[in-house]
Point group: C2
Chain length 112, copies 2
């Protein structure tokens, strides 16, 4: 099993294959709490993180921002008072790549 906590984002070209359902099912145990959502035929990974207040939610947002800048891969982050929702997808392939699962694992590590 790949160690996704240290996995660097692989540059991903248009046309690269998205993860299959079977591959996603195999990887899913590594990202507890992450939901696979689908909109307009595009699968994404989504998870909501709870915090005591706005400030802590903003600190987490910045940590995720720093990670995404380091990996050249950026999520959608929805910041509310005491809550941050993070959504990973690879727009170039209109779906989920191993990169997204790795980023989900690394996002979890920032919330501890």
């Amino acid at each position: 099993m790949k160690n996704l906590i240290t996995q660097k984002c692989i540059p991903c070209e248009k046309g690269a294959p998205a993860l299959t359902d079977a591959e996603l099912a195999e990887l899913k145990p590594q990202i507890p709490g992450w939901e696979i959502i689908e909109a307009n035929g595009i699968k994404k990974l989504r998870k909501a993180f709870k915090f005591k207040n706005f400030e802590q939610a903003l600190v987490f947002t910045n940590k995720v921002g720093e990670l995404s800048e380091a990996q050249f891969h950026h999520p959608t982050i929805i910041l509310d008072w005491g809550r941050v929702e993070v959504i990973w997808v690879t727009h170039k392939i209109r779906g989920l790549h191993l990169n997204d699962v790795a980023m989900a694992v690394q996002t979890d590590s920032l919330a501890v």
Copy 2:
């Protein structure tokens, strides 16, 4: 006309009246580009701000965060690569208060 750029958020109790449509129409010219959206009968103010990259979008997110902490009133912020969407609403009154319009004006001043 009230100077909303310097207006402090007024503590707002449950049961305080929301802005009427007439009041909103009168205030609207002060918040160009802000859209009044409605979901589940709750009116909100929404605007999307564009940036050159993720870093600048994150800087703006932090500025809005700082403003909202100072005013004890917090928006929903949707952060994407090069784009920040800000949504103001007063949850206690399930609608829009003058505070939200003031915060919209002040959000605009941070994007300059």
